[in-house]
C-alpha cells in the first residue's frame, strides 16, 4: 500500500461557544474582538490523520501530514494548533479579512495544492460552523475526479490502497469502500480531538509554516454569491414557566400543540 500523504485543510472560525452578532450595517457577522478557533470539524480531521500514524492503521504508513489554511493573518495561529496536534508542516495562503473565499474557490485552490504536493488523501471537516455550507470536500473530489466519503464516522484501511469508510446518513450509517486517492469529510462521531500539550505547542513553533500568496495559484477569486444582507433571526420569546405537569398539559392544549 502506498504511504499516505495527507492534506488537512483547516479554517479559522468564530469559536463555537460564542453567540455571533450581526453587525450594525447588516452586512456580516461581527468578527472583531470575537474569540476565534479552529473549526471543530477540522480538529477531527487533524486528529484522525495523527491517529492513523500513531496506530499504524494504514498498511503503507503515513509519509506526512500537511495542514493548510486560506484566511487572514491570524489563521497562522490555527495552523500552529494543527501542528501542535501532530501535523508536520503547514501552508498559509493569506486572504484579507472580510474577503473570504467561496467553497468553490477554496476547492480549486486545494486541487492545486493536492497536485503540487502529490497528496493522496485529504481530510476535511464536513462543514465550517460559520458558513454552514458543507461543500468544499465534495467540490474538491469533483474537481480532482476522486472518490469521496463524506460525513465519516469510521475510517479503516485495507490492502491494495482500499479505504473503508462508515458514513453518517439520514436514519443511520452506511459503509462505502474506495481506492486511494480519496477525499474524506469528517463527522463528529469520528473521534475526540486531543488537546495540544504545552511541549507540543512549543515544538510546533519550530515546524515549518510556509506563507503562500493567493496570486501564485492563478485563480479567479471573484465571488459568485453576493451577500445582500445579514440579519438576526427573529427572536423567540419564551412563554414562561408552569408550576406542574397539569399546567404544562393545559398550556400545550391552549397553544394547540396537543
Amino acid at each position: 500500500m502506498s504511504a499516505l500523504r495527507i492534506l488537512v485543510p483547516v479554517k479559522r472560525v468564530i469559536d463555537f461557544a460564542v453567540k455571533p452578532r450581526v453587525n450594525k450595517t447588516q452586512t456580516a457577522v461581527e468578527t472583531t474582538g470575537v474569540k476565534h478557533s479552529m473549526n471543530p470539524f477540522d480538529e477531527l480531521s487533524i486528529e484522525e490523520s495523527v491517529r492513523i500514524r500513531e496506530k499504524k492503521s494504514a498498511p503503507g504508513g503515513v509519509e506526512d501530514i500537511l495542514a493548510f489554511s486560506a484566511g487572514p493573518t491570524k489563521a497562522s495561529d490555527i495552523l500552529r494548533t494543527a501542528m501542535a496536534m501532530g501535523a508536520d508542516r503547514s501552508f498559509h495562503v493569506e486572504v484579507k479579512e472580510g474577503d473570504d473565499l467561496e467553497p468553490l474557490t477554496v476547492a480549486k485552490l486545494l486541487a492545486k495544492v493536492v497536485k503540487d504536493e502529490k497528496r493522496n488523501l485529504v481530510f476535511l471537516g464536513k462543514q465550517s460552523i460559520d458558513d454552514d455550507s458543507n461543500q468544499t470536500g465534495q467540490m474538491l473530489a469533483g474537481l480532482l475526479g476522486w472518490s469521496q466519503a463524506t460525513q465519516a464516522s469510521k475510517v479503516e484501511f485495507e490492502g491494495d490502497d482500499f479505504v473503508k469508510v462508515t458514513r453518517e446518513v439520514d436514519g443511520g450509517a452506511e459503509t462505502v469502500r474506495a481506492k486511494l486517492p480519496l477525499i474524506i469529510t469528517t463527522d463528529l462521531r469520528l473521534n475526540e480531538p486531543r488537546y495540544a500539550s504545552l511541549p507540543n505547542i512549543m515544538k510546533a513553533k519550530k515546524k515549518p509554516l510556509e506563507k503562500k500568496k493567493l496570486e501564485d495559484y492563478g485563480l479567479d477569486t471573484t465571488r459568485r454569491l453576493k451577500t445582500l444582507k445579514v440579519i438576526e433571526p427573529p427572536t423567540r420569546q419564551g412563554g414562561g414557566k408552569v408550576e406542574d405537569v397539569d399546567g404544562m398539559i393545559a398550556k400545550l392544549k391552549e397553544l394547540g400543540a396537543l
Partner: protein, 342 residues
Amino acid sequence: MLSSVSRSVLRQARPQFRVQSLSQLQRLLSTLAVLEQNNGKLNTGSLSAVTAAKKLGGSVTAFVAGGSIKSVAEEAAKVEGVEKVISVDNAAYDRGLPENYAPLLVENIKKGGYTHIVAGHTAFGKNLFPRLAALLDKQQISDIVAIESENTFVRPIYAGNAIATVESSDDIKIVTIRGTAFAAAATTGGSATIEEGVDPKSECTTEWVSEDLAKSDRPDLATAGKVVSGGRGLKSKEEFDKIMLPLADALGAAVGASRAAVDSGYADNSLQVGQTGKVVAPQLYLCAGISGAIQHLAGMKDSKVIAAINKDPDAPIFQIADVGLVGDLFEKVPELTSKLQK
C-alpha cells in the same frame, strides 16, 4: 425616408425582441428537482424540492434514477406541479453515489438546459450537489429557507444565529433546500409525462458496502409533527429508553436527542437534533434534560411550540420555550406520559 425605414426596422425588431425575451424568460425559469428514492419507493420527504421549484416559477421537471425506476417515476409523475419526469433506469444509481450520479446529472442538465437544480439538504443532497456544482463550475447555495427571486435566496449561517440573503451570478443555480422550510408537494394531482434521461454510464469509483439504519416504527424525525427529545439529563441509555420512548408513543412523536445524549451513547447518532444533526420544525418539540446550547437550538428553534422540562431554572432552553417546567425529569416525564395516556 430614412426615418421611416428605421421606424419599420424598429417595428419589425420589436416583436422579435419580445419573442426573444420570452424565450429568455422561459430559459430563466426551468427547474430540475432531483428526487430521492429508496428501494424502488419515492422518498416523499424529497418532494420539498418540488415545492421550492414551484416557488421559483416556470416549469418543474423531476429527476429520478435507479434500478427498476419505473414505479418511482410513475409516483413522481403524480406529484402536483411536476410537468415532466426524467427517469434513468440503472441500478448503478440506487445508492445515490456521487461519483457516477453527479456526471449523470451533468449530462441531463446539459440536455435539458435547466436554470435551477434543486434537491433537499439531506445526506443525499449534501453528498451529491457540491460535486455536481464543481463539475459545472458553479457555486452552490446550501440549505436555503426562502426564495426571494430566481437568483436571490435566504439561508441561515452561524448555526442559524444569522440569516443571510445571497444573490447568485451563476447561470445555473445549484440549490439545496431545508426541508422544514418547504412543505413536501402533494403526491397526487399531477399528470407529468415520463421521459427517459441520458445515461452516460460513468464508472463509479466508490463501492457501496452496507448500511445500518436505525429501525423504528415511530415517525421520521425530520418530518414528524411532534418530537420528544432527551439530553444529558437522562443519565443513561436505559433511562433514556425507559423515560423518553413511552412519552414519544403517548404523543405519537418521533424521538430526538441532544449531542450530549448521543455522545454519551444514550441515543443513536441519527436522532441528533442540532447544527450538526437534523433540523426539525414540528408542531410540538418537547424536550427533557436539555440545557439549550446554541448548536442544539439551531436544530429546533423553528418548532411551532417548544416545551421544556429541566431541573435548572436558569437553563437557556427556558428563554425560548413556550412552556417551561422546572423539575426532575425522572418524576415529571413519567407523570406527563401517564396523564397523556389517559
